[in-house]
Amino acid sequence: MSAFIVAVAPALPLHTAGKYVAGAYVVFLALVLVYVAIMASRLARTERELTELRRDVESRRQVDADREREPVA
């Protein structure tokens, strides 16, 4: 079976082989791009969390400062 496959598989002409070679390299590039895009979306989520954290810390600091300024009855 294996020997038969090799025997009946001569080199393809350039115009036929080109689409297969292009396909293989496009698959590789697409894989990397999809991965980088997914990682970019995760990075954006982390940035959002960091912004939220900064806002929460600021508001808490504001509350603490207001409490210190309140006159003691």
Binding site: M1, I5, M39, T46
Partner: protein, 240 residues
């Protein structure tokens, strides 16, 4: 910590892969037997080698977790296997395209190289479901590390078994005695392999940096605003 040197590594990766692809199409000669289709070799084989090395790397890191109990090794092992799986998917797709162009079939079950690679991929494809099925983080890390070590050890054994097999249609161009790649093809292949290995290391570091940053943000939130301010993590295959 993981982000250190990432920019330089990313630049080196882009330069090496660009150089490799330029060599593939403008320097390496056409193969006498397969013609232009053989150009797929320079992306398919480095992807396969990097994926298999990635699985072994994940196993070694899993072993370090079992030895030290430090969760950073489990995270590293998880990311290493995750990256190797992505490279493995690339290998299977580019291999299928090459097989179709060269042999007229997308897949040849009688070839041990193809079938053994699929077995390795299916084996490691169970890594994430295994993790997901265990709720307790410590047990999850321990069981996943044991799996990573055993499956990682299976990879070289599998490779040796395939090499020892006789009936294959996959050409053997890389051997310990030098193989049968001419100099220009060998140089192009080696640069492609270095590029692919650099890509693996860059993406591994990139994902590690992203995970470490996310964990630091959660830890900071917990420290500054208290335990209640952090939403409980959903059940996940990823270490946290």
């Amino acid at each position: 910590m993981y982000g250190r040197g990432l920019r330089g590594l990313a630049i080196a990766t882009v330069l090496t892969i660009t150089a490799a692809f330029a060599l593939v199409f403008f320097y390496a000669p056409l193969d006498a037997d397969q013609g232009f289709v053989q150009k797929i070799f320079y992306v398919h084989v480095p992807l396969a080698i990097t994926a298999l090395c990635g699985f072994v790397f994940g196993g070694l890191l899993g072993g370090l977790y079992l030895r030290t109990g430090d969760r950073k090794w489990d995270i590293r092992s998880y990311v290493a296997i995750h990256m190797a799986l992505i490279f493995g998917v690339g290998t299977l797709i580019t291999g299928g395209i090459w097989a179709k162009a060269s042999w007229g079939h997308w897949w040849v079950w009688s070839d041990p190289t193809l079938t053994s690679f699929l077995i390795v991929m299916l084996l490691f494809a169970t890594y994430q479901p295994l993790r997901f099925s265990i709720e307790d983080p410590e047990r999850q890390s321990r069981y996943a590390s044991v799996f990573a070590v055993v499956a990682g050890a299976f990879v070289p054994l599998n490779f040796i078994a395939v090499r020892a097999a006789q009936g294959y249609v996959h050409p053997r161009v890389l051997t310990l005695t030098g193989g049968n790649l001419p100099g220009s093809m060998r140089l192009t292949f080696l640069i492609s392999l270095v590029g692919m290995a650099l890509l693996y290391v860059t993406l591994w570091k990139y994902e590690m940096a992203a995970k470490a940053t996310r964990m630091q943000v959660r830890a900071l939130r917990r420290t500054l605003l208290g335990e209640d301010s952090v939403a409980p993590l959903k059940r996940s295959a990823a270490p946290s």
